[in-house]
């Protein structure tokens, strides 16, 4: 039996590394070809250059699409976080009725394909005689980001001692003051986390943006898709793609590390910060499902 155990271990190990390679090789390839001095992404490489990067930044359409995506993502993230906070507060109340129905509706966008959502939203807009617009994209993105905001905020809200809010009121604070001075500051790092996750969700999103953005104003993912038909643009697109990947990576690292640091600083205790940092989206989902 022992030799059987070793074989299984080796196979699992190999599977793990292959899987990792499968995920990461495309990204590595992208980075490599971003510096390739050739207009086609083929081997062998024809020398290194950074000209694609400078060309990309002078390409007005590309930079405008990037700016559009970033703006939409920021606005959608703020709205999703605020609404997510309100939803989380509501979900922690004892007096909530139809709890399962409420949770299910809020989490629905997680399981509905975005393309279906996009089609539904377009039909809705037409029914209301409203034109496609970037605002519509923002709203669509708020819908898909909201579940993530709740998944981050609700568990954090749950770990707060409910007696604290009572203590604040006992000491003379109004409900609003108690929320603003006690609950909200303690949620700080989680709010930032929620913002970042919502930002990334919106920035990356293709289906809703492609249906709801006006034709001359594509978001970055939409622009990418369109420009895949134009071979000349490819190197620039690859260059920007590399930057976006690097930026996302940095963002995630900063977000996680920053959150731990912020938690520690907030309450001045190492143990407490570690307890909070154990939370991840999967745990959040379980907690929400149980609520």
């Amino acid at each position: 039996m022992r030799s059987g155990g070793v074989v299984v271990k080796v196979l699992l190990s190999a599977y793990f590394w292959l899987f990792l390679a499968f995920l990461l090789v495309p990204l590595v390839v992208l980075v490599v070809f971003a510096f390739d001095n050739s207009t086609t992404a083929t081997l062998p490489l024809e020398g290194l250059t950074t000209s694609w990067f400078s060309e990309a930044f002078t390409n007005g359409q590309l930079t405008k699409a990037l700016a559009r995506s970033a703006t939409i993502a920021v606005v959608a993230a703020i709205i999703a976080t605020v609404l997510g906070l309100m939803a989380s507060v509501g979900l922690t109340s004892d007096r909530l009725r139809l709890r399962s129905l409420t949770v299910a509706s809020l989490m629905l966008p997680l399981v509905v394909p975005y393309i279906s959502l996009a089609v539904g939203l377009v039909i809705l807009l037409q029914a209301m005689a409203v034109q496609t617009s970037l605002t519509a994209v923002v709203l669509g993105h708020v819908v898909i980001a909201l579940p993530f905001a709740i998944l981050v905020l609700l568990p954090r809200l749950r770990t707060l001692d409910p007696s604290m809010n009572e203590a604040a009121r006992d000491l003379g604070a109004s409900d609003l003051t108690a929320f603003g001075r006690i609950t909200l500051p303690l949620l700080g790092p989680a709010l930032v986390s929620s913002f970042l996750i919502s930002f990334v969700t919106s920035f990356d999103e293709f289906a809703i943006a492609s249906f709801l953005a006006p034709s001359g104003q594509p978001t970055y993912p939409v622009f990418l898709y369109a420009s895949s038909r134009t071979p000349a643009l490819l190197p620039q697109v690859i260059a920007i793609g590399t930057l976006v990947i690097a930026f996302s990576l940095a963002l995630v690292l900063v977000a996680e590390g920053g959150r731990r640091w912020a938690e520690k600083r907030l309450v001045g205790d190492v143990e407490f910060a570690d307890e909070v940092s154990e939370e991840n989206l999967a745990e959040g989902l379980v907690m929400v499902a149980k609520s």
Partner: protein
């Protein structure tokens, strides 16, 4: 700080079909240390929360110094609470925690500063003013919670099992400190606990609660020496509960029939009661005599176990009436208590004055036979 008199009139609270607090009437004069004692689920915490304002009564009133406060928000009552989990604000320094309530009022900055340092001195934590709560020990956090409540000079302080999370030694120390604090500050303390020793040692008066009702209230000594029901007798200290039938006896006494063979004369408790009920005698009132002694209120028995407590010994005796007694015998003067190994035949003398007839409980809590444990 004026007043602090609490009156609970017919106070009731229901959660769905469950009645947590069932028409409680209590009168607590200003400046008293009053405890609500009972097991989990008896309604003591719910009662406290109604006095604090976190729960609204379904019926009855909470009156403070004569004013009906039943519907007033907790922020507006001259009452402050020390929570079981302390509920300190982890992101604020100790001084800011204590200052929190003051800053909600129109108090000048300098006054806030001086009152905060006064409060921290009162609980001996002045040197920790700039720390955060997670950097203090449990006992210290407890004191911060106290300071934070007392700095507002409330008429009444509510304490919800504040010592529950602390180890035994720290608990005893803080019990003494809390009592001294209350005497020093002079306000009414309403204290909720399930620990009978705590309630007996600290309170001026206490109430034992059972299933949402007050079973008995009074001074610790009266409650211990003269419990009215089996529930109260069993909850406070160790009691020897014996099921028996009560019939008439000459004079102002009752005859207690234990089983078919033995009769005691009872001189305490509800002597008008007849029929099936429970009688009790405190372990320290039973006298163990040599085997074969006859006379009033004497029942033969055999020692089953002796637990040595140092200052005294617990002797477990199986009586011929099939009841088990726990007897506390202590060393008196220069006569050491007799050594009673298991198997020794003895005679149990239960003095009539110490045999108490108990009436049935008002609540539905079942009678728990107290297994013989060393007194805490």
């Amino acid at each position: 700080m004026s007043g602090g008199q609490i009156e609970l009139v017919g106070l009731t609270k229901r959660f769905g079909n469950f009645t947590a607090v069932d028409e409680i009437d209590l009168d607590i004069p200003a400046g008293e240390f009053f405890s609500l004692l009972g097991p989990s689920g008896c309604g003591k915490t719910t009662t406290l929360r109604m006095v604090a304002g976190f729960e609204e009564p379904d019926a009855g009133e909470v009156r403070l110094d004569g004013h009906d406060m039943s519907r007033t928000s907790p922020a507006k009552r001259p009452v402050n609470t020390v929570f079981q989990s302390y509920a300190l604000f982890p992101h604020l320094r100790i001084s800011d925690n204590v200052a929190f309530g003051l800053r909600r009022q129109k108090v000048s900055r300098s006054e806030v500063r001086s009152r905060v340092s006064e409060a921290l001195e009162l609980v001996q934590l002045s040197q920790y003013a700039n720390r955060k709560p997670n950097q203090l020990s449990g006992g210290q956090q407890q004191r911060v919670a106290l300071a934070r409540a007392l700095v507002l000079k409330p008429s009444v302080l509510l304490l919800d099992e504040p010592l529950g999370a602390l180890d035994a030694k720290l608990r005893r120390q803080l019990q003494v400190e809390l009592k001294q604090l209350q005497e020093q500050v002079g306000i009414t303390f309403l204290y909720v606990t399930h620990d009978q020793e705590e309630a007996l040692t600290m309170s001026d008066r206490l109430a034992v609660m059972n299933s949402g009702r007050v079973e008995q209230s009074g001074r610790p000594r009266d409650m211990y020496e003269e419990p009215e029901t089996a529930y109260v007798a069993d909850f406070l200290g160790v009691s020897n509960l014996m099921k028996a039938r009560i019939t008439d006896a000459p004079g102002s006494r009752s005859a207690v029939l234990l089983g078919d063979d033995f009769t005691l004369t009872a001189g305490a408790g509800d002597l008008a009661l007849r029929g099936e009920t429970t009688v009790t005698i405190r372990p320290e009132r039973v006298v163990l005599e040599q085997a074969g002694v006859s006379g009033e209120n004497r029942i033969p028995g055999m020692v089953t176990r002796t637990v040595y407590l140092g200052a005294a010994q617990q002797v477990h005796v199986q009586m011929a009436s099939e009841h088990t007694l726990m007897v506390l015998s202590s060393h008196q003067g220069d006569e050491p208590a007799a050594q009673l190994p298991p198997g020794t035949a003895v005679t149990c003398y239960l003095p009539a004055a110490a045999v108490r007839v108990l009436r049935p409980s008002a609540g539905s809590a079942p009678l728990q036979s107290k297994s013989a444990v060393a007194t805490k």
